[in-house]
């Protein structure tokens, strides 16, 4: 039962670690749910249109697809989840570093 949840946790941890190396304490990103991302956006002053936010949403969906089967009725299963995740993580890291350099 928990194996798929474990996969999701491992993946989410990787995503959060990329962001939270730059954002600590009160400004840490606490999760990849839409409300958690929106809370973080407001806290750190990132616009919803920022590439980082778009990437977080994509990565959140990839992580969710590793977990339970809720909603899967209507979404095509992504056979390349692992590869998409790796690519997404690299892209996110670059975007976060760029953001920190400019802000």
């Amino acid at each position: 039962m928990a194996n798929s949840f474990m996969n999701k946790v491992v993946a989410e941890r990787r995503v959060l670690s990329i962001v939270n190396v730059h954002f600590h304490g009160r400004t840490q990103l606490s999760g990849l749910s839409k409300p958690a991302i929106e809370l973080w956006q407001r806290t750190v002053g990132i616009q919803a249109s920022n590439d980082i936010v778009a990437m977080l949403i994509v990565l959140a969906e990839l992580c969710q697809s590793l977990s339970d089967r809720s909603h899967e009725s209507f979404k095509p299963l992504n056979p390349d989840v692992d590869r998409s995740l790796e690519v997404g993580l690299v892209t996110l890291e670059n975007a976060v570093q760029q953001f920190r350099l400019k802000n």
């Binding site: 941890r13 939270n20 606490s30 749910s33």
Partner: protein
């Protein structure tokens, strides 16, 4: 639109607090394609049937708690399924959850930057271990968030710290920011003999576990 909508979880149990939300389950009956809120649990009838046949704990959760709110007439899909098969995967489920809990505690002890996330994961693992254990240890399984404190082997984490970790989980999943003492919760979580508690639970459930 042809679907059944149920509520389950803490609202059905009457466990209401300022941080409560409503757990909603949707079963689209005729394969209708509709966009549902992301927070709703949407499962096809086939997946629900699989879960009932496999005796998954989630199936028991629905069987014992879910209340249909739409439509109001007729026999519900879940009622037609009857009782799920007996829950038989507790040992492996608890092992997996223990693994998740150990990893999370290690991350916290190592000074993780994802502290709120890890506190919430620890809470989830403790709660779900207790739910799985309740199948064997109580007259009927309990899905209460406070079940770690209602088992014959009581969780050693002070309940205030458990509730703080629960609020961390709510921030992760709902973006809700109810205040709690992050430092105190963290310290209590890493000092309480929680992994010993898991071992004690296993000893009671399976006296010769290895």
């Amino acid at each position: 639109m042809s679907h059944e909508i149920y509520i389950f979880g803490s609202s059905v149990r009457g466990e209401v607090s300022p941080t409560s939300d409503i757990d909603v389950l949707v079963i689209p009956i005729a394969g209708a394609r509709t966009d549902y809120p992301a927070s709703w649990s949407v499962y096809s009838p086939e997946v629900i049937k699989d879960y009932f046949q496999a005796g998954r704990l989630f199936a028991w959760h629905l069987h014992l708690e879910a209340q249909r709110i739409f439509p109001l007439e007729g026999t519900s899909f879940l009622t037609q399924l009857g009782k799920p098969a007996p829950y038989s995967s507790a040992r492996s489920d608890i092992a997996d959850l223990e693994h998740i809990l150990k990893d999370s505690l290690l991350e916290i002890r190592a000074g993780s930057n994802n502290l709120i996330y890890e506190l919430g994961i620890s809470y989830t693992a403790i709660r779900d271990i207790a739910m799985a254990a309740s199948w064997m240890l109580l007259e009927k399984p309990s899905f209460s968030r406070y079940i770690p404190y209602a088992l014959p082997v009581v969780c050693p984490l002070p309940i205030d710290a458990y509730c703080g970790a629960m609020l961390a989980r709510h921030q992760t999943t709902r973006g809700a920011t109810y205040p709690f003492d992050l430092e105190a919760v963290t310290n209590q979580l890493i000092t309480a003999p929680i992994l010993n508690w898991v071992d004690n639970l296993k000893d009671v459930i399976w006296p010769t576990h290895s």
